[in-house]
């Protein structure tokens, strides 16, 4: 992961060098698959640039070069190929991000989402998994979905911010320094959930607890969803009062979980 981050850094820093390309004389139809596999990265990049430009201009284009470039980046883990892919497709990814309804209100730069989308794509497609992507279209389709995923994560972070004060978010969603730490946190939350559940008396209380604190719903919404269980919004409020009252009086809970 460090290597790939470094690639992103490198590709976004001024280098002072100029990419050059030669006009390609050989018609693409004459180039067979074996030749593409053996092609130098420089030539492959040139073909990709031209085919990419054809694609952007709505002209017929050959996707085999782009697919081969992805293969080298993802199967052979060739960082130069990866850097080229990043530069070649970042504009496309940015256009996907900007089209997302959630982008405008996210407060993040499009560059943030673009880098995150590529990172997620890189992490998700291992050499073994690459075989399940049969074409450049399938790869780009997946890249597009990765872009949506990073926007979704941003939306989730926003909903956290709306749900809780900033200091609580830092406490609740601080970055974990290791997978062990994350796993421990998950176990702690599950244990706490089971502990609280054991203090509930019936289905109505479980529904109120779940919908209030797991789903973040207001009593009116809970009632609208479960009219089979509650006869009015006041019913929901009463159940919520009973649960919170019981929990706040529980000394063991206060001591064990530092409430």
């Amino acid at each position: 992961m460090q290597a790939i981050s470094a690639t992103f850094q490198a590709s976004t820093q001024p280098t002072g060098t100029i990419r050059r390309t030669r006009a390609l004389a050989v018609p693409n139809q004459a180039i067979d698959a074996t030749e593409i596999e053996r092609m130098s990265l420089t030539i492959l990049e040139r073909h990709c640039a031209i085919e990419g430009e054809r694609f952007y201009r709505g002209q017929p284009h050959d996707t085999r070069f782009g697919y081969e470039l992805f293969r080298r980046a993802l199967v052979e883990r060739d960082e130069i190929a990866w850097e080229y892919i990043f530069n070649q497709y970042r504009g496309l990814v940015e256009s996907w991000v900007r089209r997302s309804g959630a982008f405008a209100s996210s407060g993040e730069t499009s560059e943030f989402f673009v880098v995150s989308a590529f990172t997620r794509f890189w992490q998700a497609i291992s050499a073994e998994r690459f075989a399940s992507f049969a074409s450049l279209a399938a790869l780009l389709h997946y890249l597009q979905l990765c872009a949506s995923c990073v926007v979704i994560d941003s939306v989730r972070a926003q909903s956290w911010a709306e749900m809780m004060p900033e200091e609580a978010i830092v406490f609740a969603r601080s970055p974990y320094s290791s997978p062990d730490e994350e796993a421990m946190e998950r176990v702690n939350r599950t244990e706490f959930w089971e502990y609280i559940n054991a203090l509930l008396n019936d289905e109505a209380e479980r529904v109120v607890l779940f919908n209030s604190f797991v789903m973040g719903m207001k009593p009116g919404d809970i009632y609208a969803r479960r009219t089979d269980l509650f006869s009015s919004v006041n019913d929901v409020y009463n159940v919520k009062r009973n649960v919170l009252g019981r929990l706040s009086r529980n000394q063991d809970l206060r001591q064990q979980f530092d409430i």
Partner: protein
């Protein structure tokens, strides 16, 4: 007007607030009387604070704790997930409006825009640059300094409003019918154009293209002679030099 007296909960005002009033207030459903009561009565304010702490603790620990990660949601949408996990997420979606909305976002991304949305990606705004100067200028910043190819060629400055393009066209050494086109683009104070492309076209046919680097520089080699078009595809518009004689 509140009347002061001490009730069993410690509330000093009437009418006293019960827990339902406090919970509604914490949920954002609060009327002016309750607000005024909480400002005036330290006992009820303390009770409200206790309830707020326990609510916050529950939210911190439980909010969306059963939701699949966005990666899992993507795997679900793509059906690239084991059957047990697929069923588990499908059941979760039945109860969770948050994840249902997010899955909808993924599905829209997958279906509405298409994979190759050629319409809307290529900028529709086309800006034609006009020749401002022709002659010998200082070397284009960022260009290779020790060129072993070509003689000193023609140099041009093109402009349109805040867009400025320095262009150099040199013959390729040993191949007089071929040229190297080197350019440096600057667009006012706009962010860099890294990742965008420069292309040489003959009509609709693309003869060569190159990515534009962070300094706005590009080089296209092996360009055949002719009356050609240089197209710079930027994020929001296309900049062109029509009738470029190479």
């Amino acid at each position: 007007m509140f009347v002061h007296h001490q009730n069993p909960s410690g509330c000093t005002l009437t009418p006293p607030l019960d827990d339902l009033d406090l919970i509604a207030a914490l949920d954002g459903v609060i009327d002016v009387n309750v607000r005024a009561h909480l400002q005036a009565c330290s006992s009820c304010a303390r009770r409200a604070n206790d309830l707020a702490i326990i609510q916050q603790t529950l939210q911190q620990r439980f909010y969306r704790m059963f939701c699949p990660s966005s990666e899992d949601l993507l795997a679900f949408q793509q059906r690239m997930i084991n059957p047990d996990r697929y069923i588990s997420i499908a059941n979760h979606l039945h109860d969770c409006q948050h994840c249902t909305n997010e899955l909808r976002m993924l599905e829209q991304a997958a279906t509405n825009t298409g994979i190759f949305p050629s319409i809307g990606i290529f900028p529709t705004n086309r800006i034609a640059l006009r020749l401002e100067k022709q002659g010998l200028f200082p070397a284009i910043s960022g260009a290779p300094s020790n060129r072993s190819y070509g003689s000193l060629g023609d140099q041009y400055i093109y402009r349109a409003d805040r867009i400025r393009l320095m262009l150099s066209i040199e013959r390729t050494f040993g191949r007089p019918s071929r040229s190297i086109v080197t350019g440096k683009l600057s667009v006012g104070n706009a962010r860099n154009q890294h990742g965008m492309t420069a292309s040489i076209l003959s009509g609709e046919h693309i003869l060569g293209c190159s990515l534009i680097d962070t300094l706005g520089c590009f080089t296209i080699e092996d360009v055949p002679s002719g009356n050609l078009t240089l197209s710079l595809r930027l994020r929001d518009y296309e900049v062109v030099v029509d009738s470029l004689r190479v």
